[in-house]
């Protein structure tokens, strides 16, 4: 995967949204990662550490990865069900369903300041 470039993306996104003083105060970033985003949390953590030590930015910032499961919504039953083992079916009616409403996320959910 391309975790290193994703970490650079996180930094760029923050830098374009916060002032220099605000950036200095960021002590944690909550990253929301869907199970379908193809991001491996362990690799993401080590990529984060690698970029921090290479670029010297965000030295006092922690990366929290929030993994979220895959959810599909069935219009027939108006129910949302969680997908297990990539078996894309509605657990209520058992019909095949790939109307994914959660699971592809790759975004900064929250930024913590001290």
């Amino acid at each position: 995967m391309h975790e290193i470039s994703l970490v650079r993306n996180i930094f760029r996104t923050l830098e374009s949204n916060f002032s220099f003083e605000e950036l200095e105060k960021i002590n944690a970033i909550d990253l929301k990662v869907g199970l379908l985003s193809n991001v491996e949390p362990m690799l993401m953590q080590s990529a984060f550490e690698a970029v921090v030590s290479a670029e010297g930015k965000f030295q006092n910032t922690k990366l929290n990865i929030l993994l979220v499961p895959i959810l599909v919504h069935c219009t027939t039953c108006d129910q949302t069900s969680e997908i297990k083992e990539y078996n894309f079916v509605c657990t209520v009616c058992g019909k095949p369903n790939n109307n994914v409403v959660q699971g592809t996320e790759l975004l900064i959910e929250r930024v913590h300041f001290n």
Partner: protein, 242 residues
């Protein structure tokens, strides 16, 4: 950006707006621009993905032979380091441009946009992208394509869909390639279709071989049909507008 600022001096935590802090936002923005551009120009855009060596370039060579007199086709080929695939496709008689990613494991919309500026797209019916051989990363990058086609070779084993669910979830067509080798391999087309459809119930499939020619007419007809559909829908929109 929509950030709920609790005070002028940031303290505590701030909730971010989902769409603006999306990490692949830049890619998706360019992908939309590509979508608009190909719609305006009436071009069908196809993104072909697979693991390394599943037979993408060979299939495009065979496709070129069969369709070059019927359609005006252009190809963009992504490769980590070499220029070889574009040369192979040009030999088969269609215009191809190589995008050397220099080690990046997927194509991004920005690379496609830049390459499109170098192609003469006048009167082009179809632009085909051969992505970098990799079933993981290219799945996350929208290139503005109308259809995503995934190749899975009989030599790879029939358990691929569940290992790379996002790719199968986002593809409209699965091509089981190197079908000429089926008699010699423990590969079940039925099993791979079943697995793929557990992920994506609407995925279509074709069994093809670039060596024996099996399924290539169906594949070419599928492309011709999609080119026709695209031109029709664009024309309908023009009628509505005028």
């Amino acid at each position: 950006m929509q950030i709920v600022r609790t005070s002028k001096n940031m303290r505590g935590s701030v909730q971010c707006d989902n769409t603006t802090m999306h990490l692949l936002q830049a890619n998706d923005f360019v992908a939309d621009a590509i979508r608009q551009e190909v719609r305006k120009r009436n071009i069908l855009l196809i993104n072909i993905v697979s693991s390394a060596g599943s037979g993408k370039t060979t299939l495009l060579q065979e496709t070129a032979k069969r369709l070059k007199d019927k359609l005006n086709i252009k190809v963009l080929v992504g490769d980590l380091e070499t220029e070889r695939d574009a040369a192979r496709i040009r030999q088969a008689g269609i215009d191809a441009l190589q995008i050397v990613t220099g080690g990046i494991c997927h194509l991004e919309a920005q690379m496609i946009w830049q390459a499109m500026q170098k192609l003469n797209l006048d009167n082009t019916d179809m632009l085909i992208i051969e992505n970098v051989g990799n079933l993981v990363c290219p799945a996350s990058f929208d290139l503005g394509e109308d259809y995503r086609v995934t190749l899975i070779a009989t030599t790879e084993g029939d358990d691929k869909p569940k290992k790379y669910p996002r790719m199968f979830l986002t593809s409209e067509l699965m091509l089981v390639s190197k079908a000429d080798l089926l008699p010699y391999l423990p590969f079940s087309v039925e099993a791979v279709v079943k697995d793929a459809r557990e992920i994506n119930p609407t995925i279509e499939y074709l069994t093809v071989s670039s060596t024996s020619g099996q399924g290539l007419d169906e594949w070419c007809n599928w492309l011709l049909e999609k080119v026709k559909e695209k031109k029709e829908t664009t024309q309908e929109k023009e009628l509505v507008v005028s």
